[in-house]
C-alpha cells in the first residue's frame, strides 16, 4: 500500500441558496494513495462533483466549506490562498473535466494553450515550449502532433480535444489527476481509448487518479478502489473487485444489479428518486428507497464501519452485529 497523496477528512461543503442550505458533501472522508486509480461514483445530486471541486481548490461561493480538511501531500488545500493554489493546480494536481469545449479557448491554437501551462509555471514565454507540447501530444496519442499543435479547437474532434486537455493536465507530471466525467460526452469507442490512455499515463508517470463518474460499468473496469456516494454521503468504499463480488450497502447492491443486464427480464430498479439535499431524509439518507430499511434507519444516521478494509455506512452491516 503506497503513501497517501491525498486525504479528505470529514469534509462538509454546503451551498447557501435562497431556498435553503444544500448539504452537497456531508462528512466525507477518503484517501488516495500513490499510483492508485480511485473511482467516485454517484448519481446526479450525490455531491461527487462538489467533492471534485474541493479537491482541486476550485470551490467558489455560494459553496462554503463548513468543516473538514483536504490534505494534499500533507498541506490543507482549503487553507491556501488563490496564489498558492495556482502553483499547485496544474502543476501538482491536473484537472480534466467533461466538456473540453468549455476549457479550450477557441481563438488560440491547441498547442499554444498547452504551452501556456508551462509558461504559467516556469515563467518563460509559451512559444519556447512548442517542442515539449509536440512530445506531450505524442504521449496522449494525437496523430500527426507536429501539425496538430497548430490546430484550433474547432478543427479537432471531441475525443481529440479531450486528449488536448489530458495533455494539459499531465504537462507538469502532477502527483494527482482529478478527472470529472472525462469521457461522458464521448462515444463508447472513444471512451475506451481515453481510458486506456489514462491507464498508460498512470504507468508511465506514477500519478494517482481520482476519477469521478456516474458510469459505474466503466468505473469498475478502470478503478482500483471505488467510493459510492449517495445524497452527499459516502456509503461504501472498497476495492473494486470486492465491491463487485460482494456489495455490502443496499444502494451499492441495487446499482450493481441494475448493471447486470439480463436478457428480456425486467431491469432491477430503485423505487423513488434522489432526495433533495436541502431537506435530506432523516437517519440514513437512502432509507426511503431501501428494501431492507427498518425502524432504526429513519432515526439514526449510520456511521461508517470498517470491515476488512472496506468502509460501509449501513445499520445492517457491522455495528450492531
Amino acid at each position: 500500500m503506497g503513501e497517501k497523496v491525498l486525504e479528505v477528512i470529514s469534509l462538509r461543503v454546503y451551498y447557501d441558496l435562497p431556498q435553503g442550505t444544500v448539504r452537497a458533501v456531508d462528512d466525507v472522508s477518503l484517501d488516495v494513495r500513490r499510483r492508485e486509480v480511485i473511482g467516485i461514483a454517484g448519481e446526479s445530486g450525490s455531491g461527487k462533483s462538489t467533492l471534485a471541486l474541493a479537491i482541486t481548490g476550485l470551490l467558489r461561493p455560494p459553496a462554503k466549506v463548513v468543516s473538514g480538511k483536504v490534505l494534499f501531500n500533507g498541506v490543507d488545500i482549503l487553507r491556501l490562498s488563490e496564489d498558492e493554489l495556482r502553483r499547485i493546480r496544474g502543476r501538482k494536481i491536473g484537472v480534466i473535466f467533461q466538456d473540453p469545449n468549455t476549457y479550450l479557448n477557441p481563438i488560440y491554437t491547441s498547442g499554444f494553450q498547452v504551452a501556456e501551462v508551462f509558461e504559467a509555471h516556469r515563467g518563460i514565454h509559451a512559444k519556447k515550449y512548442l517542442n515539449e507540447v509536440v512530445k506531450l501530444f505524442r504521449l496522449v496519442k494525437i496523430a500527426d502532433p507536429e501539425r496538430r499543435v497548430y490546430a484550433y479547437p474547432h478543427q479537432l474532434s471531441g475525443g481529440m480535444k479531450q486528449r488536448v486537455l489530458i495533455s494539459m493536465a499531465i504537462a507538469e507530471r502532477p502527483d494527482l489527476i482529478v478527472a470529472d466525467e472525462p469521457t461522458s460526452a464521448l462515444d463508447v469507442t472513444i471512451q475506451s481509448e481515453i481510458m486506456d490512455l489514462l491507464a498508460e499515463i498512470r504507468e508511465e508517470t506514477n500519478t494517482s487518479i481520482v476519477m469521478i463518474t456516474h458510469d459505474l460499468a466503466l468505473l469498475f473496469e478502470v478503478a482500483d478502489r471505488v467510493a459510492i456516494m449517495y445524497a452527499g454521503k459516502l456509503v461504501e468504499l472498497g476495492r473494486a473487485s470486492d465491491l463487485i463480488k460482494d456489495p455490502l450497502h443496499p444502494y451499492t447492491k441495487a446499482l450493481l444489479s441494475i448493471l447486470r443486464y439480463e436478457r428480456k427480464k425486467k431491469l432491477t430498479s430503485i423505487p423513488g428518486s434522489i432526495p433533495s439535499l436541502i431537506n435530506p431524509p432523516p437517519g440514513c439518507r437512502f432509507h426511503p428507497r431501501c428494501p431492507y430499511a427498518f425502524s432504526k434507519c429513519s432515526k439514526i444516521e449510520p456511521k461508517a464501519v470498517n470491515i476488512d478494509g472496506r468502509l460501509v455506512a449501513c445499520h445492517l452491516v457491522g455495528g450492531s452485529e
Binding site: M160, V188, A217, L259, E262, R263, K264
Partner: protein, 325 residues
Amino acid sequence: MSSVLNAINLRKYFRITTGLLGGRKYVRAVDGVTLDLLEGEVLALVGESGSGKSTLGRILVGLQRPDEGEVLYRGINIYSSGNSVSKKLRHRIQAVFQNPDSSLNPRMQIYDILKEAVLTRNPSLSDREVIEEIIKLLRSVGLVEDHIFKYPHELSGGEKQRIAIARALAVAPEVLIADEVVSALDISVRAQVMNVLMDVKEKYKLSMVFITHDMGLVWSISDRVAVMYLGKLVELGPTEEIFKEPLHPYTKMLLVSSPAAASATASKDLRFRARGEPPSPINPPKGCKFITRCPIAGSECSITEPELMEISRDRMVSCLKVLKI
C-alpha cells in the same frame, strides 16, 4: 411475422457550405438504408454519434423527408401526400426523444399537454372523458393523478420522460421510435423508465425502434439489432446471435469497447478494441467506410465497397472479409 414499417433504400444528404468560396458539400447522414420493422418487435438501432441513427429515426417517424427512397407503413408510403405526412399516419407512428425539456412545452400543465394529444385522436370527447383518459395514461406510465396540474419544471427528469411517453401513447400509435430515451437519466431512474417503456410496449402492442448507444440495454430488451456506420447498415440480426457471434468488425468493436456489454457478449477479442475515430462523413474513404479503423482490412477493402448481404437466415452483414469465408 409481418412487418409494420418498411424502409426502402433511404437516403438523406445534408448540404453544408464550407467557407466563403468553399462550395457545396454533403453529409451523407443516411446513405441507402433498407430495413423492416416487424410486428411486435424491439429493433435496436446502434452506432456512434454521426452514424446517422437519429436521422434514420426522424425519417421513420415522418419528421424528415428523405431525398430518396420510401417509408411504408403497412404498405402505404408515408411521404406520398404533398409535403407533410398525413395526420392519420402520423398518429400511427410516434416518437420519444432524449431530452423531454425540449419536447414538453414549459408553459403548459401536464393536463393541457396530454389533453391536446388525447383530443387529436378523438375530438368529440367530453371534458370528463378527457380527464379519465389522461388519468389512464398517467397510470400506465407509473404516475398518479397528483401530477395532472403540474408544470414540466416541477417534475424530475424521469417523470418528464414518462409524460413524453404518455403523450406518445395518447394517440394510440402502433409504432414507437425511441431515440436515446433514457440516456440523460440517472442510472437508478433509467431502469424505472425502461421498465415503463417495456410495460406499455406490451400493453399497447407496440412495435419499437430503440435508438441507443447503450449496449447493455440493447441486450436486455431488443429482439434484433441493426448496426449503423457512417450512414449505412453494416450488420443486422437477432440480438442473441449478434452478441454471441458478431460478424462485422465494427460490431465487434462496439461490443468489446462497451463495459456495459461485457457480461452479455461472447466477443472478447482485444484486437477489436477501438482505435481511431470515424472519418468525416463529408469525405468518407473509398471502398469500405470502416477501413480506416478496421484491424482486419485487406487491400481489396479499399477498392470495393461491400454490400449488405444475407449470410444466413435473418442475418445480414456488409464486410468483404466475412463474406469471403
